[in-house]
Symmetry: C2
Subunit: 420 residues, 2 copies
């Protein structure tokens, strides 16, 4: 195997630990100096490759690359950009090959979710379809936890931890206030089609605190009267009610309860505003004073309270991707396998990208309680180990130290530009 | 001075550290056994006194009381309930005296903000107006930081830390996404009439990150065109824009940009929904894709990232209140004094309640930048030391351990009940 450079890019919504995967890729590539030359990162994901806007990660200090372990979001920039099929837009693939050829890139590491796995799969087929020798490995990442095959997706566990902690904290707050003031608190969390994030809020429940009392999943059609009854029962029983709602809650006809009308590059609806919708529903039907929060980006950027398990796994999938490439593999993705036994143990597995691309793993029905508003013991047992460990960043002057890379561009070699 | 019991109650919106003040009161009272008997807490604030619903804090273990140091919200329940004047509702004061007399209570510690200081002041006058010997000491608390005289109010610094960290984290996120997706992120924070919380987000700014680009203060009348210009300039310069907005932003006529129409017991408007209002304004005028978050209760319950400085000060004002009572004082409040010098040092001071009740301390104009959208160096120098130190709670199974007290009721002695 002759020596070649590697391309690494971050894709889709970022996470608290996607940079830990980047660190895993870059540090591990350095262990394979005989076959892997430099790691070039795409500035703003795959569009960096199309624009020949590459970042030379070898210009960073080792300390800066290590700093990625405790830095949220995408250090090289991410993108929402989906490659069309070869048939629809052959020019994009020809451009990718031109750029890769110019920079001697024959390893492609793509760090993303289900949509990005589709992009990675298309790129992995370039050697067959366009005769360019390239190995493409997908590095799993998504806060939505909806990637199939893998037991969980790096990024999810930290969001789960943030949402569970925030739910517990807000529950203590509303419990203090409910006698003469707020009786209902609604937390809107991410999760367009899968309720994993909302489900993780079940970890807030303790022997002495029953919150959250109502969880709304995209998997369970929203029935207004059942929801209102459940809220009223909680207030009657506990004096207050905590609701955690997935942004993607839908009615029986599949309409989102809150749809802003905006669509992203993948055609997905930009959702938001569910919490105030639910709050007004409760106010007008039950009359309770309410508060609501929408955590939005805060939940997926909250590196300050990331799960150590998540950080470890994010690094491991990055490292494994490089090892797969070094072993000559193509069109695969490292997975996380939960080993049997009462104590949580995990190891890295491998799956074909064809089994991952464009598939969504929803919450299994057995993880959702019979009435559709809670999480079963089996569900809780799934979530519990993922949030273990507090991977605190370092602080200076009371604020977390997050790394900003120099992101030195690789000199361009092509004369042609390419418009996105 | 003969021995008597003490009454302690939490009032108004709770904070991440109000329980640390409770701990300070209870642990310090135990040092004055010759004059202070038991500490009875009001269940749900002052209404616990009116209802003769008292909690015997001596029934808790020392460990549980220590657990209050790391537990958010109000461990005894809080309330939004304002005593009317003696002239308007003499029955309430007669009831208080009946309850205090029945339980030999002659020390009154009230843990709250400006409205609560008014209640505490009225109670402090009972010895004069109704001939009942009582010493009332106010224990300062408010996330809004709007209490006068004191340099800062316990509770604020932890919210400041949470908001500053969340702003920094979300800024990293939107910076990653802005090339092909979200360009504007809006964080709505608390602050009805004073912009202290929004102002603290200035600590997110670093040498390499200019966010937040726009801060909206209640103190500065909202001018739509100036705001839109500022957002566009940030996007042109940085590629993205982070906005932090106080919920209480008002137009030049004093109308809240977002008013849900609901009023609380103090007649204050329940605000909310400002972030989506601003987002739609930006979308329709500038066309940028946006995300917004409303942190609401999450910000004031976030004990997981409380400021150590705040925890220390919250305990200290609780302890000082007891010492003031033991020294025979009445109608006073401990304050926090910032000592001169380049290194931050503070000590406890004392002020008369008449100087505190019903007064709001807004952000001084010199802390707000000339254009009204940022914080000056003087403002930053004010905020910086307050967020120092991470007072992490302990964790079990990946979740913070928060204390729930037994809250054993004191047997009732009165036959009459009292309706609130």
């Amino acid at each position: 195997m002759s020596k070649a450079n590697a391309f690494y890019a971050q894709s889709g919504g970022v996470t608290p630990v996607i940079n830990a995967s980047a660190c895993g890729v870059i540090e591990t590539a350095a262990l394979y100096k005989d076959i892997i030359g430099k790691v070039y990162a795409g500035r703003n994901g795959i569009v960096g490759a199309l624009r020949e806007d590459l970042i030379d990660t070898s210009k960073e200090t080792k300390k800066a690359i290590r700093g990625l372990m405790t830095t949220p979001a995408g250090a090289f920039g991410s993108c929402r950009y989906k490659l069309r099929s070869l048939k629809e837009n052959r020019a994009e693939y020809e451009r990718l090959i031109a750029v890769f050829k110019a920079h001697n890139i024959r390893y492609f590491f793509y760090n993303g979710g289900g949509d990005s796995a589709d992009t990675c799969l298309k790129v992995s087929q370039l050697s067959q379809t366009m005769g360019y020798p390239l190995q493409a490995i997908h590095v799993p990442k998504t806060i939505d936890n909806d990637l199939p095959v893998t037991d969980n997706s790096p990024g999810f566990a930290s969001v789960a931890k943030y949402v569970a902690i925030s739910t517990r904290e807000a529950a203590f707050d509303v419990a203090s206030m409910c006698d003469t003031s707020t009786k209902v608190f609604i937390l809107e969390v991410m999760g367009r089609h899968a309720g994993w994030i909302a489900g993780a809020s079940c970890l807030a429940t303790t022997e002495t605190s029953s919150a959250p009392h109502v969880i709304l999943f995209p998997e369970i059609p929203f029935r207004e009267q059942d929801f209102l009854n459940k809220v009223r029962q909680a207030v009657d029983r506990c004096g207050y009610c905590v609701v955690v709602a997935s942004e993607g809650v839908q009615d029986a006809d599949g309409n989102f309860l809150s749809d802003s009308g905006v669509r992203d590059a993948f055609g997905h609806a930009q959702l938001g505003g569910l919490a105030p919708t639910l709050a007004n529903l409760i106010k007008s039907n039950l009359g309770y004073k309410f508060h609501w929060a929408v955590s939005d980006y805060l939940q997926r950027a909250a590196r300050h309270i990331a799960s150590q398990t998540d950080v470890d796994q994010a690094y491991a999938v990055g490292a494994a991707a490089v090892k797969f490439a070094a072993a000559g593999k193509n069109a695969v993705m490292p997975t996380i396998i939960r080993l049997p036994g009462s104590r949580y143990r995990w190891q890295i597995g491998e799956t074909a990208l064809t089994r991952v691309a464009n598939r969504e793993k929803k919450m299994p029905r057995k993880f959702i309680s019979r009435d559709g508003f809670g999480v079963t013991a089996a569900g809780r047992a799934y979530f519990e180990p993922l949030v273990q460990g507090e991977a605190y960043p370092e602080y200076r002057e009371g604020m977390p130290i997050y790394t900003v890379l120099k992101n030195v561009p690789v000199p361009r070699k092509l004369t042609e530009t390419f418009d996105i």
